[in-house]
Symmetry: C2
């Protein structure tokens, strides 16, 4: 496994692989890897000749007052995990490699990224699309693996890839959960025992909504949201950021729940920690 | 020579060329080709294995009330010229191929495109960077040829290529002029005989500035601008949009003229026709 710090060397290496007809599978991450990331690595290994992971905590996707500085980092542990999962290349750039001092070009998606996380984090997706455009050009992937936990991010990046004609196929891996149901997230590391216990309410609210639709057969958006919301109000540390039922492909609000199409998306704060999760009916 | 109308077929073809180790030289155009474009084609032929020209009048780089609808078009003549100049592939997309109805992703450059043409045409460079990002991903060029006549566009696109890490080298061809000095432009076709005669004042103003710097040895920005402006005020159809002396690499205003670095950039209207030109001291 090779660890590369410069964009130029990474690009040169992957372009050589591509010329040799190899398929490059790319997993962009902000590090502090968990089983969610590693499931994407494993997925890429099954369909690619070369697996490339990037580890970069992207400053532009954090808003003012968000957790950029304290975002958990452990490069050596990440590299050990990459090695154990058969990664071929790890790209670990510094900030100047990605954003030179006079960098001034951004990629913006002006539709599917507007609601939900785009509302509560107004500059977030501009940072995501910009860094991903850079990483896609540097890493020249055949496949990019994204996790379904960040459902809106998946839709934004699929839209960007389609609109800008990147010759890339986005492959989406399922949400990986802890044994008790909490969606894996690097930010779970912030939670103390009490907070961790309350975070489980997120999963429970999704399950409540699922049962209501599956067993009672309701397709009533407001009814299902209200029931899920009720579960989330059961904690003293938890505050709801949003709870929405949207079309999973477009992120536009649904007027009724359609199985296989409608997505329940939830964002909460557990004290200062913001967590998201979702469930497709 | 092959003419292709879809992004997918173009991308598939060039990716195959790239895998075979061929260098692809790309000349993006809005058609109505003149010797300026063709000099770029000839330049690309000398350094590339495959020469690709795109012909697409990009709606997003025209502002409201600008000349998108009446922009001159003559596809058959363009194709004949491409053929005569040894072009291998011509990409002629329609609007939906480049901008699907729900397309929502844009590329913005927020610094070097702000002054001059970015002032007088506020949405222009957003259209240019967006369409070029799309075209670069579709056409996967090794080299992109741009004309120095659009000096600020060159700087904006160089910045975009650097910032987004496109694996592309931008090659800039010199301004090609009519015998009397008028810079070649598809928009020259709009001019009637009287307007055409007045348009020559643009070149004469650049020459006046050049002589002042070369012969009199002045490096005084405002003095040189004033003299060039004086030449431009000699017409009854001509109105000055801007006249600036800037750093040719950054487009930031110069406090003194430095040979080899400072650029005199001029934009005027001849009645309804907007023309630009420039000269590097």
């Amino acid at each position: 496994m090779k660890v590369i710090h410069t964009a130029r060397e990474t690009q040169t290496k992957v372009l050589a692989f591509k010329r040799a007809g190899k398929k490059v599978g790319f997993v962009p991450t902000m590090g502090f890897l968990h089983e969610g990331h590693l499931s994407l690595v494993d997925l890429m290994r099954t369909i690619s000749d070369v697996v490339l992971v990037s580890i970069y905590v992207n400053p532009t996707q954090f808003g003012a007052g968000e957790d950029f500085n304290k975002y958990p980092r452990d490069l050596q542990r990440d590299l050990d995990l990459c090695m154990a999962h058969g990664v071929d290349l790890v790209f670990v750039p510094n900030n100047l490699e990605i954003y030179p001092d006079d960098s001034s070009t951004y990629v913006v998606e002006e539709e599917v990224g507007n609601g939900m996380c785009g509302n509560s984090r107004p500059t977030h997706f501009k940072g995501v699309t910009t860094v991903c455009a850079k990483l896609f050009n540097i890493c020249q992937p055949t496949f990019v693996a994204l996790g379904q936990k960040d459902a809106q991010q998946v839709v934004v990046l699929k839209r960007m890839v389609r609109d800008l004609h990147f010759p890339i196929e986005i492959v989406v891996g399922p949400i990986i959960r802890e044994k008790d149901g909490l969606a894996m997230s690097s930010r779970n590391a912030y939670l103390d025992a009490k907070q961790r216990k309350e975070a489980l309410l997120i999963y429970q609210s999704l399950q409540t909504a699922r049962k209501l639709v599956e067993k009672n057969g309701t397709n009533h958006v407001e009814r299902v949201k209200a029931e899920a919301l009720q579960v989330l109000t059961g904690g003293s540390h938890l505050r709801v950021n949003y709870i929405e039922i949207v079309n999973r492909e477009t992120m536009s609000p649904e007027s009724e729940i359609v199985r296989g199409r409608s997505l329940l998306a939830v964002a909460v704060w557990i004290d200062q920690v913001r967590l998201i999760d979702n469930f497709c009916f």
